[in-house]
């Protein structure tokens, strides 16, 4: 017996999902057809695969491992600024990779703070390039994510359990054994798997801190085959390798996690009777301070170095900033055109369409880029399409996050007001304008903010497509760094940071304004 679909039509959602599927799977097909499988994998390719797996494994283990004490400290301490710190843990999500890399170089680079101290102590210096650097940057980005995931696990343990534990006179070790270890056993594998999957597709970090035969990821190898040798066959072969790697990791991550990472209620601190000893208090304080320092110091140094140079930025940087703004806004608009119809279709019970939207998680931007290049190359000059292609790829990459944010509220609106709207004959565009958009404003703004900021800071597919005259702001910044124009690069970093977070703030704020009932 068919329940009539209320105010919602599903065909636009089907079309949007089909477009995404064609883009992701079509480019896969193009890549597979072009790949020269007969040539097989040479030593360079195997080395890239080994390095990719090694750095992703190390990044996942270190991020998750360090996140345990940090999350534990955040879970059982209440202090001024705790809420701010937890919010800050979400910031790396929209932090441009190239800016973070610059900050890490300022801390860990040859003339960075750490090496200054080490030299003064007479100890050997550390290098920020190669495997160390890649893993360091990945930990910088993923330690906050892991901390949030694990903190959520801690907060999911009911407060009554800790009360009971206190009543039974449990010490920290007993609490760990009976309450915390089972929780960690449940949460840690998922968190590590997600980070492993994220690090597999790492491109911008490998581009800036890796390189060379010993520290090349598969994504970076695709780029090099493309840009340096213009060997499409090899790029396509590598892209196939990348698809297999990411596909397997994505399946693994989904198996092991399946939990929502945008969990609410993170600002509750439990009273923990077992942890009220001076020693534990000092340990927790140290962990929180170290984590905060690790996350804040690089960005603070970028700001410190860049602010003076902001006034005399070269024209090329301003032009690139303009381009990036247009690309980011275009990407956001595209994301909405895809996400809204898919949300509506998913909300009226077509969950499979939502799954299509999630393809962006498994897809790698460089693979899509390679595929698009192969498809476009015979018809038009791909380099002239650099910006539209970047906007499209960014929109598809942001789509899974946008859907995750927007599907639940859209479903609430359809379920709560679908019938009322239907009896009032309120359908189609007027329904979207009068009912849907005002009701989902908050999530809409949040999703747009994320998309715009991610696109603003993206240094991925644009590196494949751009010719020397054109650049987005992150690419221009990368070029300035490569040319050792450090002052201009630092200024560009501040501008990029301001634009990314500014866009996010504007959209998010726009969604929150006029709070209604």
């Amino acid at each position: 017996m068919a329940e009539r679909a209320d105010a919602v039509t599903c065909w636009p959602g089907r079309i949007a999902a089909a477009l995404v599927a064609v883009l992701v799977l079509g480019t896969l097909l193009a890549v597979a057809l072009r790949a020269e499988a007969g040539r097989g994998l040479g030593p360079a390719e195997w080395s890239a695969i080994r390095f990719t797996l090694l750095q992703a494994t190390l990044s996942a283990l270190i991020s998750a491992g360090l996140a345990i004490p940090v999350a534990r400290a955040l879970a059982r301490r209440r202090f001024f600024g705790r809420r701010l710190l937890i919010t800050l843990l979400g910031a790396p999500f929209i932090l441009p990779v190239i800016v973070a890399v610059m900050g890490l170089i300022a801390v860990f680079g040859r003339s960075g703070l750490v090496n200054v101290v080490l030299r003064w102590l007479g100890w050997p210096e550390v290098s920020v390039y190669g495997l160390h650097g890649v893993v360091l940057a990945h930990v910088f980005f993923n330690l906050p994510l892991a901390t949030r995931l694990i903190l959520q696990g801690w907060q999911d343990i009911p407060a009554e359990r800790f009360r009971l534990a206190a009543q039974l006179g449990f010490g920290p070790r007993d609490v760990f054994r009976t309450l915390e270890r089972p929780m960690l056993a449940r949460v840690l594998p998922g968190a590590a798997a997600v980070i492993f999957a994220i690090c597999l597709s790492s491109f911008a970090v490998a581009l800036t801190l890796g390189g060379g035969p010993k520290a090349t990821t598969v994504e970076l190898a695709i780029y090099q085959a493309f840009r340096f040798d213009f060997d499409l066959g090899r790029a396509a072969l590598l892209a196939c390798v990348q698809i297999v790697l990411v596909g397997m990791a994505a399946v693994l991550a989904l198996r092991l996690s399946g939990r929502d990472s945008f969990g609410a209620g993170m600002d509750r601190a439990l009273r923990r009777w077992d942890a009220e000893t001076r020693a534990l208090r000092i340990v927790d304080t140290l962990w929180i301070a170290l984590a905060a320092l690790f996350l804040v110091l690089p960005i603070a140094l970028v700001l410190l170095d860049g602010l003076p140079g902001l006034a005399q930025l070269p024209l090329s940087v301003w032009r690139a900033a303009g381009v990036s703004l247009i690309v980011a806004l275009g990407s956001t608009a595209l994301m909405l055109c895809l996400a809204l119809p898919i949300c509506l279709a998913a909300a009226s019970g077509r969950g499979r369409l939502e799954a299509v939207g999630l393809l962006g998680i498994a897809a790698s931007p460089l693979v899509i880029g390679t595929g698009l290049f192969i498809v476009i190359y015979p018809i038009a000059d791909p380099f002239r399409l650099a910006f539209p292609v970047t906007a499209v790829v960014n929109a598809v990459m942001a789509l899974p996050f946008a859907l995750r944010i927007m599907v639940p509220p859209v479903r609430d609106v359809v379920q709560g007001y679908g019938r009322l709207s239907a009896t009032l004959n309120l359908r189609g565009v007027p329904w979207v304008r009068i009912v849907l958009l005002p009701r989902i404003r908050g999530s809409l703004g949040f999703a747009c903010g994320l998309t715009a900021a991610m696109s603003m800071g993206d240094l991925g597919v644009i590196a494949l497509f751009a010719d020397p005259e054109t650049a987005t702001l992150p690419l221009q910044m990368y070029r300035l760094m490569g040319a050792y124009r450090i002052e201009a690069a630092a200024g560009a970093a501040v501008l990029l940071l301001a634009l990314s977070f500014g866009l996010f703030w504007l959209f998010d704020k726009g969604g929150r304004g006029h709070a209604d009932a």
Partner: protein, 230 residues
């Protein structure tokens, strides 16, 4: 006249049959044990579900396949009858123009309807700034401007206290007397039925029975109703 002709509804294990007519300008209560299918019956008439067999007729015209918004019915639900982000006047205006492009004449009618339910001057308020009773009045004002010959109520006043609910039912009866519309009203309270409905449809044991006079039915309930009333 509303006619349900050989209707059969199936949802998993749940079955409901109905075969009767409702005279114009009558007020009918729909009572019966919970889960018997009172709301399902209204959903069928409003057009939210299709029967596996039978036809829904309005004045001998087949409306079984007509979309909810194109049916001669205005409906109020248990909750979510107002859009919280729209003002009272806009909520009422939706009954006239779904796209809210109201003409001067439309705006005047909205104000009139609000005045008729005792909310003159409240048009600019959002539902959150109104009491529960006032929110119900706004919904009734919208039913008034919708001006449909059939009004379906799926317990929209169940969250109100007894006095307020009685007040709403009296106001509703008054409005219906003016417009001459037919009312079908789900209720789990026999007193509601006595208060406003001349006729009552009993829904029990997989069937919706033809409307009967309310007072005799409630005074001498058949076994199924007796078990429910206690």
């Amino acid at each position: 006249m509303l006619t349900l002709e050989g209707i059969s509804i199936v949802q998993g294990d749940f079955r409901l049959s109905a075969d009767f007519s409702v005279e114009d300008s009558t007020r009918v209560a729909v009572i019966g044990p919970s889960g018997a299918g009172k709301s399902t019956l209204l959903s069928l008439i409003a057009g939210f579900l299709e029967p596996v067999a039978g036809r829904v007729l309005w004045n001998d015209e087949d409306i079984t396949a007509t979309a909810p918004g194109a049916r001669p019915a205005a409906m109020l639900f248990q909750d979510n009858n107002l859009f919280p982000h729209l003002s009272a006047a806009q909520n009422v205006g939706l009954g006239l123009r779904p796209d809210l492009r109201l003409s001067g004449e439309d705006t005047r009618r909205v104000e009139e309807a609000l005045a008729r339910v005792g909310l003159a001057g409240y048009g600019a308020r959002k539902p959150s700034a109104l009491s529960g009773g006032q929110q119900s009045r706004v919904a009734l004002a919208r039913v008034l401007v919708q001006d449909r010959p059939l009004v379906l109520l799926d317990e929209p006043f169940s969250a109100l206290g007894p006095a307020l609910k009685a007040e709403m039912l009296d106001l509703l009866a008054e409005l219906l007397d003016e417009t001459g519309a037919t009312l079908l009203m789900v209720s789990h309270d026999p007193e509601d039925a006595r208060r406003v409905a001349q006729r009552t449809i009993l829904v029990a044991d997989g069937a919706a029975l033809a409307p009967q006079d309310t007072a005799p039915l409630l005074d001498n309930p058949p076994p199924a109703l007796k078990a429910y009333l206690g």
